[in-house]
Amino acid sequence: MKKTYPGDPPVLDDITLRVDKGEFIWLTGPSGAGKSTLLRLLFCAEKPTSGQILIGGKNIGRINQAGVPYLRRNIGVVFQDFKLLDNRTVLENVGYALEVLGASDTDIRERARRRLDQVGLSHKAMSLPRRLSGGEQQRVAIARALVNEPTILLADEPTGNLDPSLTDSILQLLFDANARGTTVVVATHDRTLLQRWHRRTVGLERGKLVFDA
């Protein structure tokens, strides 16, 4: 994959990065480095100003409007600000990623419940998101990103609101998905994570790629 800069003062400047299928990558860098922007480019929430982004050989910068949803169905995203639907219950939120795929009602309910269970929130299934704590909302977002077994998983600070033991169990979910073949990119600034789990680490700083190890 390969991508470059949008924005007024280049937010991402001449980045070239290749992620193999099935890899697990830490994306790190200080606040405002462009981690979130990089992830947003990957699922077409933003178009690159120049350069190209290839996923499975397809240039997603050139994809047409109608094709975007189908691309996104293969990409699970944990947003930094969660982006939960406020007028749907937790269960419906998680199920929505399956709903758009046209799954049956029972299938949706069952799989969503299982994921909620995995993030330890089955008792909150019927709550509305605004009634949850920050950490609980984050876990709902993670459950939704995982529920349709995406081929690519992008997680933006997925553990920013979680305590250490929950962080461990959530990361375990990501590793499990990775083991099942999902390509995972996790943006984080938490050095303890990088230290505890050694994976390929990509460092960004002020829009530039500063290390890749």
């Binding site: 109608a66 949803p69 996104r72 169905r73 007028n87 990623a97 795929l101 049956s104 009602d105």
Partner: protein, 296 residues
């Protein structure tokens, strides 16, 4: 599959209506009130038109016959004209005409006693069976004037001119105003729906981010829009019916007295049309409103 999706959408529309009643309520009320205003306007215009028409139709027509015409010829002509089927005809012979003139003159009547012969012609009194528009009346007059033995046709020409001018004014002004009012009401409804969708723009954004196609995002909004439209139309129809029950009992007597025209009423067919219109407006309004937020 389709039925399945439709069922899911309906359920969701109902749930949203239940969970965020304010948004839906506002749309429903706005649609209802706009329809009410529009319907009131239309009913008002129609009533005005019917009043004008009925007044235009009231003047009877008098066919003055040639002095030479005999009573027998007159009666035959009356019979002929009656044969058209759309008018009542009465033959008034010269003697009756003179009597009437005398009566009309009142105290001056005796002045006619000095006449040596009856100078009045026989005439036919024509009364359209159904109320006729001014133009139809004119046409009828022109037609009857061609009948054999007819010397002159008299009808409230001047009065009719006035009514016609007024009718033209009403048409020019009314049609324009009607278009403007309906356009304004539609814009208000569209605006409200757009605002309601705006309040849910985050939802649209999130749905798209999670991989929903434009159609899939749009569908529940359309469903809700149509539902709100139908409910709104229900409110509007209810308001019109309520207004009729409260206001018309007073007004209808006056109307009847003024013109023999019944007061305006909303028919069930119109109500059904309004419900359908409400659904359509809600649907189309939602479509346009959502399109705006789907682009980004």
């Amino acid at each position: 599959m389709i039925a399945h999706v439709a069922w899911r959408l309906s359920r969701r529309a109902a749930v949203n209506l239940w969970r965020a009643p304010l948004l839906s309520l506002v749309s429903v009320l706005t649609i209802g009130l706009s329809l009410f205003i529009g319907a009131t306007f239309v009913l008002g215009l129609f009533t005005a038109r019917r009043l004008l028409t009925s007044w235009g139709a009231q003047p009877s027509m008098t066919l003055y016959l040639n002095a030479a015409t005999t009573d027998a010829q007159g009666l035959t002509l009356a019979q002929q004209i009656r044969g058209r089927g759309d008018v009542d005809v009465r033959y008034v012979d010269a003697a009756v005409a003179l009597q009437r003139l005398r009566a009309d003159l009142g105290e001056l009547g005796p002045a006619l006693d000095g006449l040596t012969q009856n100078p009045l012609p026989a005439s036919l009194e024509i009364r359209p069976r159904a109320p006729l528009a001014a133009t139809s009346l004119r046409v009828l007059a022109a037609e009857l004037e061609q009948s054999p033995g007819v010397r002159d046709v008299e009808y409230g020409r001047e009065w009719l001119d006035k009514l016609e001018a007024l009718g033209r004014g009403l048409r020019a002004f009314g049609a324009g105003a009607l278009l403007a009012v309906i356009g304004a009401a539609l814009m208000v409804v569209a605006n409200t729906i757009r605002l309601a969708v705006y309040a849910r723009r985050d939802e649209i954004e999130i749905m798209k981010l999670v991989g929903a196609t434009d159609g899939y995002v749009r569908a529940p909004f359309l469903m809700e829009g149509a539902l709100q439209g139908v409910l709104g139309a229900g409110v509007g129809v209810g308001a019109v019916l309520a207004a009729q029950h409260l206001l018309l009992p007073h007004a209808s007597q006056a109307f009847a007295a003024a013109a023999g025209v019944g007061a305006p009423h909303l028919l069930p067919a119109h109500a059904a049309a309004l419900l359908a219109a409400g659904a359509l407006v809600g649907f189309v309004g939602s479509w346009i409103a959502v399109a705006r937020f789907l682009k980004t």
